[in-house]
Point group: C2
Chain length 332, copies 2
């Protein structure tokens, strides 16, 4: 398996994305996100996304500059100019940090954007500045509401990060039983889906990936998880997305940032987050389990280890395709 | 089964709560909540709670007045004075409405309070004023974190409401597999718990309610649901709760209110919520199902029907016990 240094991996992604039509600055923001995903062990969300991004950009007119179209002292609304959400989310969270630093609270929404990556990446950025950060985005309709056979909702992730005395404590969850990418992968591999992931176009349970792609992915967590998926959809609509997103465009990004110093003396909240994390990690595991894992800890440990090694492993096929994209050979 | 008019039911609850030591004003606020729960078909969360509240108050010193202890133009922190959260949540959400009406956004936290009722009740109140309202509260530690056998988290509900052109669209979910009350009820009835609800003190799965009460309730929704439970715990800590709440006190209430007019012209958001609700309710049901139900719609339909009838049905045993509490007979 090819090994790349972090600089090499970043450069490969930047070249692929700029050749696909992204500005150099935006390609760098996106590449940093993808390389971080690789460092954190999220292979699917990392460099292979360059291929999907290049494909999606091929059908799109050139993006426009982003604009802050409304702003008051605790909120802002950003028009993403049809730029990729890897970039617009960074602009939005940085705007939220700027507002929350001044006024303690920020609600920032963004629309006219698409493809967002790991939400953990954005909320971590804000939590490292000392803020509690909540973030949702709605996405292309692939998922049925509870009890429905029609795809109306996105995979609609929800994330929240809390500043601590070391790495932020991050919770980042999707609200669908599986992802579109996983269903496509199952079809490519010719393997069935696990039970309970999807329904066929007629609304019957299916483990056939092709029928699932024509039908709908099920929401995660029954009525409760589906409720959360619907909430994320409505927060996206608050941000200006379509009611139902039929193509890869006009996602709605929603951020809330809160300065804990509004509610307690400086440094007290990060210390309490660290204390709770230690209580949870030190609690007695269930019978048959070795230890109790706090959300996000595995990603952060892998990142520390991989940063120490300074290299990223890349699947050979993905590497070959990225090299093609980066040099413009065979770029049909 | 005894039938009471709404006025009779309210009066019965008020008398029981004042005899238990609550002020007349606070008893009325609490009774209104409990009667609304009855109207909405949530029997367990309705008048029987008077019995649990009276029992909890018996062990407590008299509550102190509530106080706003910190405030800026987008946030406030309330000391609940050890008053019941049925009351403190109303004060907190009304404070949030006041702030959000002026500045578009409000983050309000409250602590030194206990027992909260249906979170839907509070977020609906704010959504009827035109705001998107998010609310969490952490509660007495009964639930184990993901992979843990120790009870460290509360049943930690999460609710969000969206204003629409008719009743607000409300999502209100607990983050535990079952409630403490349901486990106690199973023990009283001598019936086993369903699979996967709880673990024994040694961390083994159990369906024995007594072992579950000595052990821990499991979080709902695997790692994802447990992540949400942990997030609610941390938001409670942000509001000033204990890290782990060992008794019935010092819950942390957290509210975020957002005026949709920050992001789009007046009335546009409620119209879009109504439009999405109609799309979901009108979508094709799964094979074998009759219709697709939008979260909260059943409660709101029952409330309309029961308000039209003007009466509440009450279990005979509960009615007898409430009558005792209200008149002070046999009140040991």
């Amino acid at each position: 398996m090819p090994q790349l240094t972090i600089a090499e991996a970043t450069d490969l992604a930047v070249r692929g994305l700029t050749r696909a039509g992204m500005s150099a600055a935006n390609a760098r923001i996106t590449a940093d996100h993808l390389v971080d995903a690789a460092l954190c062990g999220h292979e699917f969300s990392s460099l292979p996304r360059v291929i999907a991004l290049a494909e999606a950009m091929r059908g799109k007119p050139a993006a426009k500059p982003t604009r802050v179209i409304r702003e008051n002292h605790c909120s802002a609304l950003i028009d993403g100019g049809d730029n990729v959400a890897y970039v617009v989310s960074i602009l939005a969270v940085d705007k939220a940090v700027e507002i929350a630093r001044k006024n303690g609270v920020a609600v920032v929404c963004a629309n006219n954007t698409w493809f967002s990556g790991r939400l953990a990446y954005y909320v971590e950025r804000a939590a490292r500045e000392g803020f509690v950060a909540m973030h949702t985005t709605n996405t292309t309709a692939r998922v049925a509401p509870h009890g429905s056979a029609d795809r109306l909702l996105g995979t609609n992730p929800f994330a929240i990060a809390f500043p601590s005395e070391d790495d932020p404590l991050i919770i980042d969850i999707g609200t669908s039983q599986t992802t579109w990418g996983d269903v496509v992968l199952a079809r490519t591999k010719g393997v069935p889906l696990p039970e309970g992931m999807a329904v066929s176009p007629s609304g019957h349970p299916t483990s056939d990936p092709q029928l699932a792609l024509e039908g709908a992915i099920l929401p995660w967590g029954g009525a409760r998880g589906a409720g959360l998926a619907l909430a994320v959809q409505l927060l996206g609509i608050l941000a200006g997305s379509e009611l139902v997103i039929d193509d890869i465009s006009n996602y709605g990004l929603f951020f809330v940032l809160i300065d804990p110093k509004l509610f307690m003396p400086s440094d007290q909240f990060p210390a309490r987050v660290t204390a709770l994390r230690q209580i949870v990690a030190g609690s007695r595991p269930l019978a048959g389990h070795d230890s109790v894992r706090v959300p996000g800890d595995r990603s952060q440990r892998l990142r520390r280890e991989n940063l120490a090694k300074g290299v990223i492993n890349l699947d050979e096929t993905v590497h070959a395709r990225l090299a093609e994209l980066a040099t413009g050979t065979n770029n049909q």
